[in-house]
Symmetry: C2
Subunit: 273 residues, 2 copies
C-alpha cells in the first residue's frame, strides 16, 4: 500500500544499464533512510551510440515509468542522458526535482581546484558530447578541461576486474595517453568508474584529486531533498526496488558487483517502456 | 546500373556491428573478384543482450534490407544471430543461400581434432546460447567442448589494443580461467577475435590449433558459391558498399581497424531498417 506522505515516496534513479547502481549505492550510503527505486533500460543500452533525439525519448520514457510508480525526486544516473536530456527531463517532469550526474561532478572539481586542470575519464559517447567541459568552464572560465574516452575501463568494471595488475596497466596506459595534460583533478565521468577509484588513485600522481561523480551526485540529491523539504524522517527500514527492461540474470550478476553484494535475478523486476 | 547477371550480384554480409568486417575481410581475401555489401545494425547492437524473438526479428529485417539491394548469397557474420536465427533466415530468404559463422567454425574444429577437446572463446551471449557446443557434438559426439565468455577481448579489439602486453595478460587470464580443459583447438567464436589471433596463438600452448571462424566462414562462402554456380567470373574490379544503421563516424574508425585500412564516415551509408 502506498504511503501518501510525500517524503516517504522513493527517490527514482535511472540509467541505461547497471552503471547507475554506483550512484544508487552512494545515495544509500549518504541517505540510508530513503526508499529507492532503480530503473536500468538494459533493453536499449548503450545510449551513447544513439542519436540525441532517441536518447531524449528513451530518457523521458524511463522517467515517466518511474513517475508512474510514485517518486519524489528523479536522479539521472547516466552521463549520456545527463549530457543530452537533462533540460528536457526537467521540463517534462516539473515540478519534480531532477538531479543529473554531470553538474555535481563539475561543481566538485571546480571547488577542489579553482582555475585548475581537469581530466575527465568517460565513455567515448560522453567525451564526444563535451558536457563536462561545458559545465566546468561555465562555472570557472579559467579551468582547462580534457575529456578522454576510456572504453576498456567499462569492461574492466563489468568483468569484475577492477583491481589487480591488468586494471593498473590499463589505467596507466590511458593516463599516459592523456600525458602532457598534467591534471589537478581526475573526474570519473562514467558511472562504472567509481569501482576503479582506488586503482585510478593508485596510478595517478600523488596530489591529484579524484572526483567521484557518484558521490557528488549523492550529495546533490541530499541538497535537493533539503531544499524541497523532502528528506524522509521516519526511522523505518528503507525499501529498494530494482527494475530493468531486459536481461534480469545479467543485471543481477553485474549489478551485484556494482552494489557490493549478491543479487538474484528474482530481485529484478522486468518492465516495458 | 544493376547488372542482371546473377553472379555479378554482391554477396550480402550482415552483423549487429563492425565485428563482421573480419568476415568480410576474409571473404575479400579468399574471393577478390566478388562484389560485397555489408550491413552493420549499429543502432541496435549488441544483439547478445536482446531476447531471441527480437534477435530473429532484427536479423530478418537486416537480411531483407540486403535482399532489397539485390544479393546472390547472404552471410550471417554475427555469432548471436547465427546461433539464434539461422533456420528462420534460411526459411525467410529461400532460395537465397545463407551461410552462418557457427557451422563452418564447428566443422573446421572437428576436422582438425576428431574426438578432441575444444575451447570456444566467445561473448557472454554466444557462450550462453551454447550453439558451438551443439554444432560440434552433432558432428562429433566424442568431442568435449567448453565455451568461455571473454568480454574484455571485444573491447581490446575495438580499442585497437590487439597486441602488446595488456592484450597478452588478458588472454592469459582467460585461458588460465579455462585451465584444466587443456584444449586441442581454440575456436574464435566472436567476429572480433580474429584481430587477436596472433596474440592468442602466442599465449596458448604450442600445438593448439586456432580456428578462426572468419576464415572458415569465408571458405564456406566459397563452397556455397561453387555449389550454386554463383562464382563471379568477371575480371573487373570488385565493388564494396558499407551500410550501417547508426554512427557512421564510429563505424568508420573502428571498422578501419577491422578491415586493416582507413575508412572515412563518407564510405558508410546510413540506412533505416
Amino acid at each position: 500500500m502506498k504511503d501518501d506522505k510525500q517524503s516517504d515516496l522513493p527517490i527514482g534513479v535511472f540509467d541505461s544499464g547497471v552503471g547507475g547502481l554506483t550512484v544508487l549505492k552512494a545515495i544509500q550510503e549518504a541517505l540510508p533512510n530513503e526508499n529507492l527505486i532503480y530503473l536500468g533500460d538494459t533493453a536499449r543500452l548503450p545510449y551513447g551510440t544513439k542519436s540525441p533525439v532517441s536518447i531524449e525519448r528513451y530518457a523521458i520514457q524511463a522517467a515517466a515509468k518511474l513517475q508512474e510508480q510514485g517518486i519524489k525526486l528523479l536522479v539521472v544516473a547516466c552521463n549520456t542522458a545527463s549530457a543530452v536530456a537533462l533540460d528536457s527531463l526537467r521540463e517534462a517532469m516539473a515540478p519534480l526535482p531532477v538531479v543529473g550526474v554531470v553538474e555535481p561532478g563539475a561543481t566538485a572539481a571546480v571547488a577542489a581546484h579553482p582555475g585548475g586542470r581537469h581530466l575527465v575519464l568517460a565513455t567515448e559517447a560522453t567525451a564526444r558530447l563535451g558536457a563536462y567541459s561545458r559545465a566546468i568552464t561555465a562555472l570557472d572560465p579559467q579551468a582547462v578541461v580534457r575529456e578522454k574516452a576510456c572504453e576498456m575501463l567499462v569492461s574492466l568494471a563489468e568483468e569484475g576486474w577492477s583491481d589487480g595488475d591488468i586494471a593498473r596497466r590499463i589505467v596507466r596506459r590511458y593516463l599516459d595517453e592523456a600525458d602532457g595534460h598534467d591534471p589537478d583533478t581526475i573526474i570519473l565521468g562514467c558511472t562504472h568508474f567509481p569501482l576503479l577509484k582506488d586503482t585510478i588513485q593508485g596510478v595517478a600522481d600523488a596530489g591529484v584529486t579524484i572526483v567521484d561523480s557518484a558521490s557528488t551526485a549523492a550529495e546533490a540529491v541530499c541538497d535537493a531533498l533539503i531544499e524541497n523539504s523532502l528528506m524522509r524522517d521516519r526511522d523505518q527500514p528503507a525499501q529498494l526496488r530494482l527494475l530493468a527492461t531486459d536481461g534480469a540474470t545479467r543485471f543481477a550478476r553485474v549489478g551485484g558487483q556494482f552494489l557490493g553484494h549478491d543479487l538474484s535475478y528474482k530481485d529484478v523486476e522486468l518492465v516495458d517502456l
